[in-house]
C-alpha cells in the first residue's frame, strides 16, 4: 500500500466524519427532526447553497467517467461536457424565488411534498416515489462503483474490499448526520474539488511540455481528437446539442437538485449561489475534462476509462499531493451518494410511510425508521455494485434521463401554469418514464433515434401530453395559497 497517497485520504475521511458528528449534535438541538434531517431547516447561505448544488451534481461521472471519455474521444467530449455550465445559473433562476416561497407555504421538505400539495393526488405521489426509488438506485450504484474503483486504484485493496470500506464510511456518515451534515461537508468537498482541479490541470500541462507540445502530440495520435466531432468523427452537432437537455437545462428536474432550491435562507443567499455555482461548475467541468484530453499524450494506453484521472494524478504529482488531490473525486462521489441516499430514504419514509402507512408516527419512530431505511438502502446498493457494469457514466446518465422525463413538466408547469392539473401530471409522468425506457432500449438496439440522446424525445412528448391532458380534463385555474397552509386553517 502506498502510504504517502493513503495518509492524506485518511485525514480527509476523518475530518469529514468530525464535521458529521458536529452537525448531528446540532440536529438533536433543532426542534423539527424531519425538516432538519431532510432539509437543514432552510437556513443555508449563498456559499453553502452553491457548493452543495455543485457537489451533489458533480459526481463520479464528472471526475472519473467524463474525463475518461474525453481521454478516448477528445475535445468533442469536452464540448459536450460544457453544456453543464448552464446548471450553475439555470436551476436557481428557473425554480427561483417562486419555488422557495411556495415551498415555505406548503411546508414542503422534498420535491414530492410540493407535487403532493400542488396536485393533491395520491397517484402523483406514488408515481413520484416509485420513479425516485428506481432511478436513484441506478444513479447510486454508479457512484458506489466509482468510489470503490477509486479506493482500489489508490490502495491496491481488492474491489470488494474497497467497496466495503466505501459503503461503511458513507452509511455511518449519512445515518448519523442527515441533510445538514451532508450540506456542510459538501461545502468542504466543493472547495477541495476546485483547488484539486486547478492544481492537477497545471501539473498535466507542465508534464505534457506545454500547450503547443500537447496539441502537436494529440494531432500526431489522431487529428480528430482536436475537432468537435470525436475521435472517429461520429459525434454529430445534433447529438452533442441534445446534452443541453440531459445535463444542462434538464437538471432542474432532478429531485436531489430541486430540493436544494428550497433550502436557502433568503434572496441574497440565492443571488450569491448563482454566481459562485456558475464559476465553480465552469471551473471544475472545463478543468477536469481538459485534464482528461491532455492526459492522452502524457499517459498513453490507459485501458479503463474511469481510471485515467487517478493514474494521471499519481503520474504527474508527488505522492502526498496526489493523495490530497484525489480526495476531490472521492469527495464528489461521497457527497453525491450522501444526497441520493438521503433522498431515497426521504421518499420511502416521508412520502410512503408517513403519508400512507402511519400518519401519526411519533418523532422517535420517524427517526428510527429514517435511519433504518437509509441503512438498508445502502446495503442493497452495495450488493448491486458487486458486479459493476462497464462504464459508470452511462448508468448515471440513464438515471438522470429517467428522472428528468418524469419530473420536468409536473414541476415546472405546476409552478408556472395555473391550468396544470393532476390528470396532466399523471399522464405526463407515465408518458415520460414509459417512452424513456422504450426509447432507451430502441437506441441500444438500432442506434439513436433522430441522432439525439434518449432523453430528448420523452421530454418533448411529456410536455405535449401534459398540456393536452390538462386542457381536456380542465379544472379551475389554480391559485397558490396566500399564506402558510397550516396557519390558514
Amino acid at each position: 500500500m502506498n502510504w504517502a497517497v493513503v495518509t492524506p485520504l485518511l485525514i480527509f475521511l476523518v475530518v469529514i466524519f468530525i464535521i458529521g458528528m458536529w452537525s448531528s449534535r446540532r440536529l438533536s438541538e433543532a426542534d423539527g427532526f424531519l425538516s432538519d434531517y431532510f432539509l437543514g431547516s432552510r437556513e443555508f447561505g449563498g456559499l453553502l447553497l452553491a457548493m452543495t448544488m455543485v457537489a451533489t451534481y458533480g459526481s463520479a461521472s464528472s471526475f472519473l467517467g467524463g474525463p475518461g471519455a474525453a481521454y478516448t474521444i477528445g475535445f468533442g467530449w469536452v464540448l459536450l461536457a460544457m453544456t453543464q455550465l448552464a446548471t450553475g445559473y439555470f436551476v436557481l433562476l428557473i425554480l427561483g424565488k417562486k419555488f422557495a416561497i411556495v415551498a415555505r407555504r406548503y411546508n414542503a421538505v422534498t420535491l414530492i411534498d410540493f407535487l403532493k400539495e400542488r396536485y393533491k393526488s395520491k397517484t402523483v405521489v406514488l408515481l413520484s416515489a416509485f420513479s425516485i426509488i428506481v432511478f436513484m438506485f441506478a444513479a447510486m450504484a454508479a457512484q458506489w462503483v466509482g468510489g470503490a474503483y477509486l479506493i482500489q486504484s489508490l490502495t491496491g485493496i481488492s474491489y470488494i474490499g474497497s467497496l466495503f470500506i466505501f459503503t461503511i464510511s458513507v452509511l455511518v456518515y449519512v445515518t448519523v448526520g442527515g441533510f445538514r451534515a451532508v450540506v456542510v461537508t459538501d461545502a468542504v468537498q466543493g472547495v477541495i474539488m476546485v483547488v484539486g482541479t486547478l492544481v492537477l490541470l497545471a501539473a498535466v500541462i507542465i508534464a505534457g511540455g506545454g500547450l503547443s507540445n500537447i496539441f502537436a502530440d494529440l494531432v500526431a495520435i489522431n487529428p480528430n481528437l482536436i475537432t468537435p466531432f470525436g475521435h472517429d468523427g461520429s459525434l454529430t452537432a445534433a447529438y452533442v446539442s441534445s446534452y443541453w437537455i440531459l445535463v444542462g437545462v434538464g437538471v432542474v428536474a432532478l429531485p436531489q437538485i430541486a430540493v436544494r432550491a428550497m433550502s436557502y435562507r433568503n434572496s441574497t443567499a440565492m443571488h450569491r449561489a448563482i454566481i459562485i455555482g456558475t464559476i465553480v461548475t465552469g471551473t471544475i467541468m472545463l478543468g477536469m475534462h481538459l485534464i482528461g484530453v491532455f492526459s492522452r499524450p502524457v499517459l498513453p494506453g490507459v485501458e479503463v476509462a474511469d481510471q485515467v484521472i487517478p493514474l494521471v494524478a499519481l503520474e504527474v504529482l508527488p505522492p502526498w499531493l496526489a493523495g490530497v488531490i484525489l480526495s476531490a473525486p472521492l469527495a464528489a462521489i461521497m457527497s453525491t451518494v450522501d444526497s441520493l441516499l438521503l433522498l431515497v430514504s426521504s421518499s420511502v419514509v416521508k412520502d410512503v410511510y408517513i403519508n400512507y402507512m402511519k400518519p401519526k408516527a411519533t418523532d422517535q419512530q420517524i427517526k428510527n425508521v429514517s435511519m433504518g431505511v437509509t441503512g438498508v438502502i445502502g446495503i442493497v446498493a452495495f450488493i448491486l455494485a458487486i458486479s459493476p457494469p462497464e462504464l459508470l457514466i452511462y448508468l448515471n446518465l440513464f438515471a438522470f434521463g429517467g428522472l428528468e422525463s418524469a419530473f420536468m413538466w409536473p414541476l415546472i408547469m405546476g409552478l408556472y401554469w395555473k391550468y396544470a392539473n393532476k390528470t396532466g401530471a399523471i399522464a405526463s409522468m407515465i408518458t415520460g418514464i414509459g417512452s424513456y425506457i422504450a426509447i432507451h432500449y430502441y437506441n441500444q438496439a438500432y442506434g439513436d433515434l433522430f441522432g439525439v440522446h434518449t432523453v430528448t424525445v420523452p421530454v418533448f412528448l411529456s410536455l405535449i401530453v401534459f398540456v393536452v391532458f390538462s386542457l381536456i380534463f380542465k379544472e379551475e385555474a389554480y391559485e397558490f395559497p396566500t399564506k402558510n397552509i397550516n396557519k390558514g386553517a
Binding site: F90, K98, R105, S212, P223, T227, G248, V249, K483
Partner: protein
C-alpha cells in the same frame, strides 16, 4: 386582504421575470457555445488557427465562452435580480396568532 393579494402577485411576477432571464441566459450560452464550436471547428484540423496555444474553436467556444458566461451571470445578478422576502409577512402572522389567542 386585497392589499395582501397584490403584494403576493408582485413577488410572483418578480419571480416569473427572473425565470425568463434564466431562459435568456441559457439561449445566449447555447448560441455562443454552438456558434464558435461548429463555426470555427468544422474545417479539417490542419487548417485550424491557434489562439493562445489552443485551436481557435476550443479557445472561443470552451475557454473564452466560459469566462464570458461568468461575467454575464455576475452582471445579471447584480443589475437584474431583485432582493425580495421569501417569508410571508411576519407581522401579519403575529397578528393572526394574537387574534387566535
Amino acid at each position: 386582504m386585497e392589499g395582501k393579494k397584490k403584494k403576493q402577485e408582485w413577488r410572483f411576477s418578480v419571480a416569473n421575470r427572473e425565470a425568463l432571464i434564466g431562459c435568456g441566459l441559457a439561449i445566449f450560452n447555447f448560441i455562443w457555445w454552438y456558434g464558435f464550436a461548429y463555426g470555427l471547428g468544422s474545417k479539417p484540423p490542419e487548417e485550424y488557427t491557434y489562439v493562445m496555444g489552443f485551436p481557435a474553436w476550443i479557445f472561443y467556444s470552451l475557454i473564452f465562452g466560459t469566462l464570458v458566461m461568468f461575467v454575464v451571470v455576475i452582471l445579471v445578478v447584480k443589475f437584474f435580480l431583485k432582493d425580495i422576502s421569501l417569508e410571508d409577512d411576519d407581522e401579519d402572522t403575529k397578528e393572526d396568532e394574537v387574534m387566535k389567542g
